[in-house]
């Protein structure tokens, strides 16, 4: 009984979100887009709907003029698996994938005109999966070949999310070179992080496809996906298994993870807590009756007659005043000592050059 109760209260989340970011553009970074789309596909398969996924792709590979197979993005060589299709909803595309937009999505500081599909509408019962891929270095991740996000900024963004109660638990996965440096600075609770390589190591790409001409996937994400293919919504696989994915022999780099900020034991955290959208349903046999005769709701506040005057806009720019304005009085004047000194000097120079004899003409 204790076990069952514990099982029920394993995780306090009620909804799942995913933010999947590919930060590189240009054709030769095909693999980053393929990485992100593969994770998108898995996450959707496991139940997270498009309305809860914020997908940011910095470049369009499917319709890239250099793509020999247009409208496809393959993630296995020999074109086995097409991760693109007409059910892929990209929320931030091309030049919209910037550090500023990414941070705005995370912190929720978004202009009011942003459509719902571009917002991360999470609350304090949301588990969020954040997956980032691209080119990175020690302490930064490069966006679009023109700007970077640093690990400090990312940590501060997560702290803002925590303080605004925007997540219950957060899983951060990053597949870039020296990826472990990106999670070094996190300091907010309930964050678990995985990275494809340690500081000083490069993450390597997996399979080049000779038909397409570029590398299709990165190693770490490839093996993570192989792992995820075996997960289904009811599986009980936990995070410790995810940490074992892609050992050094397969990945060449050493994947890292960080669980010190996470309050639960990783053993007890299910993969589907982050990658899937598993709802908890409690079936009850009790009946609840709704009272038919509910008395009219009495307004507590008596209606007052507000003294209404005709509404009008305040005078924004007093045009009439401006066009008839007199020129402003200058408030600053040079000090008297300065003027005296300057003119004395000028007169001295004049008399020195042209002789004292002119003095008598002045006086």
């Amino acid at each position: 009984f204790q076990d069952q109760a514990e099982q029920f209260f394993r995780s306090g989340h009620t909804n799942n979100w995913a933010v999947l970011v590919c930060t590189s553009r240009f054709w030769f970074n095909y693999r980053h887009v393929a990485n992100t789309l593969s994770v998108y596909r898995s996450v959707k398969r496991l139940g997270i709907p498009d309305s809860h996924i914020v997908l940011m792709l910095a470049d369009d590979m499917a319709c890239n003029p250099r793509n020999p197979k247009p409208a496809t993005v393959f993630s296995h060589k020999n074109m086995e698996l097409n991760v693109y299709g007409d059910d892929v909803e990209v929320d931030y595309r091309s030049y919209e994938v910037t550090v500023e937009n990414f941070l705005r999505v995370l912190t929720g500081r978004i202009p009011p005109s942003t459509p719902r599909s571009k917002r991360l509408l999470s609350d304090d019962r949301s588990n969020i999966l954040i997956y980032m891929t691209g080119h990175g270095g020690n302490g930064f991740l490069k966006f679009q070949d023109s700007e970077e996000i640093t690990n400090v900024e990312l940590a501060d963004a997560f702290e803002q999310m925590w303080q605004k109660r925007r997540y219950n638990e957060l899983l951060f996965i990053i597949d870039t070179c020296q990826g472990a440096s990106m999670y070094e600075r996190f300091y907010s609770p309930n964050i678990m992080a995985l990275a494809s390589s340690q500081v000083g190591e490069d993450s390597l790409s997996h399979q080049p496809d000779l038909g397409i001409g570029v590398h299709l996937m990165d190693r770490y994400t490839f093996y993570v996906l192989e792992f995820l293919e075996e997960i289904h919504p009811a599986s009980q696989t936990n995070m410790n298994d995810l940490f074992q994915v892609c050992p050094k022999s397969l990945c060449v780099s050493t994947p890292g993870h960080r669980t010190d900020l996470f309050q639960r034991d990783p053993q007890k955290v299910l993969i589907t807590d982050f990658f899937g959208s598993v709802r908890k349903v409690e079936i009850t046999t009790e009946a609840l009756s709704l009272d038919q005769n509910v008395t009219g709701f009495e307004s507590k506040f008596p209606e007052e007659e507000l003294a209404t005057e005709p509404l009008k806009y305040a005078e924004q720019l007093p045009v009439a005043q401006i066009i008839h304005q007199k020129p402003k009085q200058k408030d600053w004047h040079p000090p008297g000592g300065f003027i005296l000194g300057l003119w004395a000097l000028i007169i001295m120079v004049f008399f020195k050059t042209y002789g004292i004899k002119h003095m008598k003409h002045v006086f």
Binding site: K328, K330, W332, P334, P335, F338, G341, V349, T353
Partner: protein, 435 residues
């Protein structure tokens, strides 16, 4: 010669007034080629507005003018256009008078050397005659006033015109021989933009020549005169700086003006060489390269002084050109100043080798500046490399122009003393090469 000069002045003033009233005035005022962070009119207005609000104009790295300019424009800001037109006219008149005097000096020296038989027998065609030199002062004034660069600079109301005018007065004072006035104007010019300090050497050489003091390092009279002139210059500089302190009761202007000129923090594109280089440089190298670039401006003074010690006015021309090419924020107004001197060396025309190509380069680059700016900033189909390429080409054109004139000048001097037909030891015709 007064009447043609007045006509030229009238024509220039008309052109400028017409441009002020047209819609081009706003367009030209925003061009980066004429308005640099040091001398843009917008910034002067901003600084004065800040002063009216009770804040020091040097707060905020917008205003980089000297306090004397603040004083000048505090009262004259409503008549700004008139001020700039008058400044241009004054510069032209000063150059006119200076070149008139300089021509007299040239004749006297030529006559002396002919009587002393210093010239070779067959160089009659190289000697300058009064007939051909009669119109040179007018041409100088014309070149300055009607040069499109000057007109654009004036319409943009860039304070470079004031700097040019001070330098022109300095040249007039030097050529007239008044060491005191020359030191005062040089101090004013240095006070405003720092680089004219290199003009100290040619001015000193000219004044020594005029006093017939030989330029030998061991001669006591040489050192005495040098000390006198240097002390005049330094004292006036110190007096001007202390006076500026009293205007705003603070030393703020020193880092804002001189610190700004020397450390080049603002990397807005201009026609100079600094901005692109420093835009893509890592922080820890920037100090080193700033020092290298600034030394480059001052570096040519001593070698040129050694080579051109007999010809200080040509030295001054070359030095002005070097300042306007290598300074940290050059504008077309600086270019216009040294170009005004080109008629003085028109007798060198037969020795100039690349003048056609160079003039084409300079003209094309001047037209391409706004085109590539538009392509880069507005159309987005070019990038800063394109604009920098034109900047580079323009500067290379200027440098080659100066070295061409330098070569032609030295060649003529050599021919004057060694005869026009040079032969090698075996009797074949020889060519002079600048090594």
């Amino acid at each position: 010669m007064a009447a043609p000069l007045v006509l030229v002045v009238l024509a220039a003033v008309t052109v400028r007034a017409a441009l002020y009233r047209s819609s081009l005035a706003v367009f030209i005022a925003e061009r980066v080629e004429v308005a640099s962070p040091l001398n843009a009119w917008k910034r002067v207005v901003e600084g004065l507005a800040l002063l009216d609000l009770g804040v020091s104009p040097y707060s905020g790295a917008i205003f980089h003018e000297t306090p004397l300019i603040v004083y000048l424009f505090h009262f004259l800001i409503e008549y700004a256009e008139l001020v700039f037109m008058i400044t241009d006219v004054l510069t032209a008149v000063a150059l006119y008078l200076a070149i008139q005097d300089f021509n007299k000096v040239v004749f006297k020296k030529q006559k002396l050397l002919i009587e002393l038989d210093k010239y070779a027998p067959d160089v009659a065609e190289l000697i300058q005659t009064p007939m051909e030199m009669h119109y040179i002062p007018l041409k100088v004034a014309l070149f300055y006033l009607l040069n499109p660069y000057t007109v654009m600079s004036c319409v943009a109301k860039s304070t470079c015109a004031i700097n040019n005018s001070v330098i022109a007065f300095f040249i007039l004072a030097t050529i007239k021989g008044s060491a005191f006035l020359s030191a005062v104007f040089l101090a004013l010019a240095t006070y405003q933009s720092l680089y004219p300090v290199t003009l100290f050497a040619p001015a000193l050489l000219y004044l020594l020549q005029r006093q017939f003091i030989p330029i030998k390092l061991k001669s006591k009279s040489f050192w005495l005169y040098t000390m006198q002139y240097a002390s005049l210059y330094l004292c006036s500089l110190v007096v001007i700086i202390c006076l500026s302190f009293f205007l705003l009761n603070s030393w703020d202007f020193i880092p804002s003006v001189y610190g700004f000129i020397l450390s080049v923090p603002d990397l807005t594109p201009n026609i100079g060489l600094f901005w692109y280089f420093f835009a893509e440089m890592f922080e820890h190298f920037s100090l080193f390269f700033v020092c290298v670039f600034q030394i480059n401006v001052f570096f040519y003074t001593i070698p040129l002084a050694i080579k051109l010690k007999e010809h200080p006015v040509f030295f001054m021309f070359v030095q002005l050109a070097i300042i306007s090419i290598f300074k940290s924020y050059p504008t077309l107004g600086d270019v216009a100043l040294y170009m005004a001197f080109l008629p003085v060396w028109s007798h060198l025309y037969r020795f100039l080798r690349n003048i056609f190509i160079l003039s084409c380069v300079l003209i094309f680059c001047s037209f391409l500046f706004p085109v590539l700016w538009h392509l880069w900033i507005y159309a987005g189909s070019a990038n800063s490399n394109f604009y920098y390429a034109i900047t580079l080409t323009f500067n290379i054109g200027q440098i080659l122009l100066i070295s061409d004139y330098f070569y032609a000048f030295l060649r003529r001097e050599y021919y004057l003393t060694h005869g026009l037909h040079l032969t090698r030891q075996d009797g074949t015709e020889a060519m002079l090469v600048l090594k």
